[in-house]
Symmetry: C2
Subunit: 132 residues, 2 copies
């Protein structure tokens, strides 16, 4: 079994991402858990737009190599086993390395605080800072 | 890479389990996320005691084969990729198959509703119902 086959790949995302990404919702019962969770597969070079979550988000890196950046801070490499705690209202993006696929499990916590806010695409210049 | 090496194995648990289990906390910041998360490795035959969570719990099956039972319902087999949504206050146990190691990621949601309540060990008779 390849590690990127733990959870289903799901459907191709149609907004809030640059490049090819696939999202499989894993749990959507906000009433009982005040959270939702999902498996996200990023093709090499793909990434979310800049965004923030009023209730926070936690990422669990499952396969490949990723990138993560909080607004105003340096971008970071993500490797398998890394866990990223994104506090409420912190503006950030996450995605794959330019040359490697990346899969993370994600959970949006404290869902009752409201939906994510989106701030537009991560430009190629912003995305490539770590890899120039 | 073996899939059971995604997250660290952590320390051997000393209470609330039967058999050898290892727990690695992954996130503990209840203030910012109202949740905590952990990787749990169950040796073949090991399992939690009966317990419930006032804020619910979600399990993500990563490696091997597990067992899950809610009080008053039949036990179920868990395989890689299964996601278990355990609603608030539902009394249950989870663990490995009798002959296979099992690893799950777990998240305790709505942590501010309070800690888990424990109801004692799952007996060998209760544990083996599915595997007789």
């Amino acid at each position: 079994m390849k590690t990127n086959e733990i959870f289903p790949k799901g459907q191709k995302a149609t907004e809030n991402f640059t490049g090819d990404t696939w999202v499989q919702m894993l749990t959507v019962d906000g009433r009982n858990f005040d959270a939702m969770s999902y498996n996200v597969t990023f093709a090499a070079g793909s990434r979310t737009d800049w965004h923030s979550h009023p209730g926070g988000q936690i990422l669990y890196c499952i396969t490949g190599e990723g990138r993560y950046q909080e607004k105003g801070k340096p971008a970071q490499r993500l490797k398998v086993g890394d866990v990223v705690e994104i506090k409420p209202d912190v503006v950030h993006w996450h995605g794959a390395a330019p040359d490697k696929e990346f899969v993370h499990l994600g959970i949006s916590t404290q869902l009752s605080k409201g939906p994510a806010t989106w701030y537009g695409a991560v430009t190629d210049e912003e995305y490539m800072v770590l890899d120039k």
